[in-house]
């Protein structure tokens, strides 16, 4: 029984559930206190001891089935690092129950089966890997909450990072101060560090294919960047227009719904990135500085219109950086009317961004300012 519980704990950790050693000990103590050993009771007890989150329940069910329903699986030869670690764990505490071969087989599972790895990590490690576009309305609010939390966490981390840097003397003030002492610089003057507040310009594709995706990304940007800098949002289908004022940072989801009712971004109704970039170039190129970052949000499906890469090159020369977030998988970039392969070389970074963990990856690689 002890091995099964430890195996279960390892499987759960594998799947991303935070299971601590005291919790494993609790569950063993709980099992010892049980008056009867039937599988449903054991499952209930272990669940209440090891899993403290409703969202992880399905992960638990699968891990439990693996750890308890097959007490003697075939020993796996290809045990990797994972199985070695698990073996150490289990061997140390393993009681006398179960034959030696069964024990070895049990414990080799987490690392041994290559197929088991994606099964545990992909489907159920919370909401991180749920694709934005297929998010169920019920889960959506929760996912937005996760996005907000991730963004805030990152904003505070980034803040620490940018505080570093050496002091620089301010010669003008140094000189002026020294005059009072007859030209002897008694008092040193340092240049005041400007607070690092990057401006983020977001250019987003408002065509229908993007709607499911926008709330998440905008939520992220408004929680993340709005803490550290200024955000302006521009939307387009084929004509670019500033939509910053329409978006309420406190209720991004509703704002995005309202966007759809708005004219002014669409003339023909076919997505045209080239024209949008042209519009941005005409109206806003003067505002671009080294401290301005452009984030383009779109699937780059340009309906075979002209790409407008010249404008993109111009932006790159003026702005601090251009990043492109594409809700499509990298595999489909450049297929059909996707111009992503054309645009990617002009960006400092192009990311596929289908779910929260990919969004996280993007933010990790960012260095705003």
């Amino acid at each position: 029984m002890t091995e099964n519980v430890i195996l279960l704990a390892n499987l759960l950790r594998y799947g991303g559930a935070p299971v601590s050693t005291p919790e494993v000990m609790d569950s063993l103590a709980a099992l010892a206190a049980l008056p009867s050993y039937d599988l449903p009771t054991i499952r209930t007890v272990l669940k209440s001891c090891l899993i403290k989150d409703k969202d992880l329940e399905s992960l638990f069910e699968r891990a439990f089935a693996d750890a308890f329903q097959h007490p003697h699986p075939q020993p796996d030869e290809g045990g990797g690092i994972g199985s070695a670690g698990a073996h150490g764990d289990g061997g140390g505490r393993g009681g006398g129950s179960g034959g030696t071969s069964g024990q070895g087989g049990d414990i080799a599972r987490p690392g041994g089966e290559a197929a088991a790895v994606p099964e545990y990590t992909a489907a159920d490690s919370g909401l991180l890997n749920v694709p934005f576009l297929s998010a169920h309305p019920g889960v959506k609010q929760q996912m937005l909450a996760v996005v907000r939390e991730v963004a805030k966490k990152m904003a505070s981390q980034k803040g620490v990072k940018t505080k570093r840097g050496s002091k620089r003397p301010d010669f003008r003030r140094l000189w002026r101060n020294s005059l009072a002492a007859g030209g002897v610089p008694l008092e040193l003057a340092w240049r005041e560090r400007r607070e690092n507040k990057p401006r983020v310009y977001i250019i987003c594709d408002l065509s229908n294919s993007m709607y499911g995706y926008l709330p998440f990304f905008l939520e992220f940007v408004f929680s993340f960047a709005a803490m550290r800098g200024t955000v302006r949002v521009f939307g387009f289908v084929d004509v670019l227009e500033e939509i910053t004022s329409i978006i309420d940072p406190l209720n991004v989801e509703k704002s995005v719904e309202m966007l759809s009712a708005r004219a002014g971004v669409s003339r023909r109704g076919l997505t045209d990135y080239g024209n949008a970039f042209k519009g941005f170039y005409r109206k806003h190129r003067e505002e671009l500085t080294r401290r301005t970052y452009i984030v383009v949000l779109g699937d780059a499906r340009n309906n075979y219109f002209s790409a407008g890469t010249d404008y993109l090159r111009e932006f790159r020369a003026r702005a601090g950086g251009i990043y492109w977030l594409n809700p499509e998988d990298e595999k489909s970039w450049g297929t059909g009317d996707s111009y992503m392969d054309v645009y990617a070389p002009f960006c400092d970074g192009a990311f596929a961004c289908e779910n929260i963990s990919q969004l996280k990856k993007f933010a990790d690689s960012l260095s705003l300012g």
Binding site: D26, A30, T44, V45, K52, D53, K54
Partner: protein, 298 residues
Amino acid sequence: MMTEKTDTLSPEGLIESLGRHGYICDDNIATVLFMAEKLAKPLLIEGPAGVGKTELARAYSDFKDRRLIRLQCYEGLDETKAIYEWNYKKQLLYIQAEKENSNWQDIEGDIFTEQFLLARPLLDSITSPEPAVLLVDELDKVDQEFEAMLLELLGDWQITIPEIGTIRARHAPAVFLTSNRSRELSEALKRRCLYLYIDYPTAEREKEIVLKRFPGIEQELASRAVQFVQKTRSLDLRKAPSIAETLDWVAAMLLGGLNQVDRKAVELAGSTLLKHHHDIELLLEKSRTGRWFQDDRQ
């Protein structure tokens, strides 16, 4: 008490005893509650509003015949309201009374002692002479700092007061924490608790609850009403009806002399079962078009 000992020998015994105190629980709830009691661990209960999280703690304290100490959480709750507070007025009076015949060192030593301490729910629960039941309700409403203050209590059954020292629990209280999942609780807190998720009850359990509460009700009506509520919950509602609201609705039906779930009953549901205008409209519309009534069933 003899009965108490036999009652808690098994989860089944727990189901029965809680049943006698007006709480119908399923195997899952009973097993986890039983475990929490055995291991003397706090029990963290999550679930939608109105599925009987608080009620479970109440029934348990009833059954154990222990005092229920309840801490209702809200935003801005702080330690002076939750753990302890110095009885400032009493301290002042004491200082005035001792004015003539004492020096400051003595007074200072005197006024920071237990007799000047006002015990708030958390301190109360561990200093109580008999074992108590502590219910920390809607823990998700408070901020993370407050959660951190709970850790010492939940992990070690003790509270540290800087001026006095550490107060250990005479008897570890049975602790129930409830949360509506409006916010994720911290890992540190979860680690110290057993976890129980209570969902909306199954039709059988809900029917049992209705029968328990209204012993005179007809079986037929009870199951029809419960079926109706279960169907209502499957709609896309802002707020699904809770058990308490089911009971309200059934009570209203009985008062109105209705003995079947008909149009009148649905109208009543509009004011007892659902509390959002949008939800009520939806229900009325659905029940008008769908086959929702007993008399439409042929």
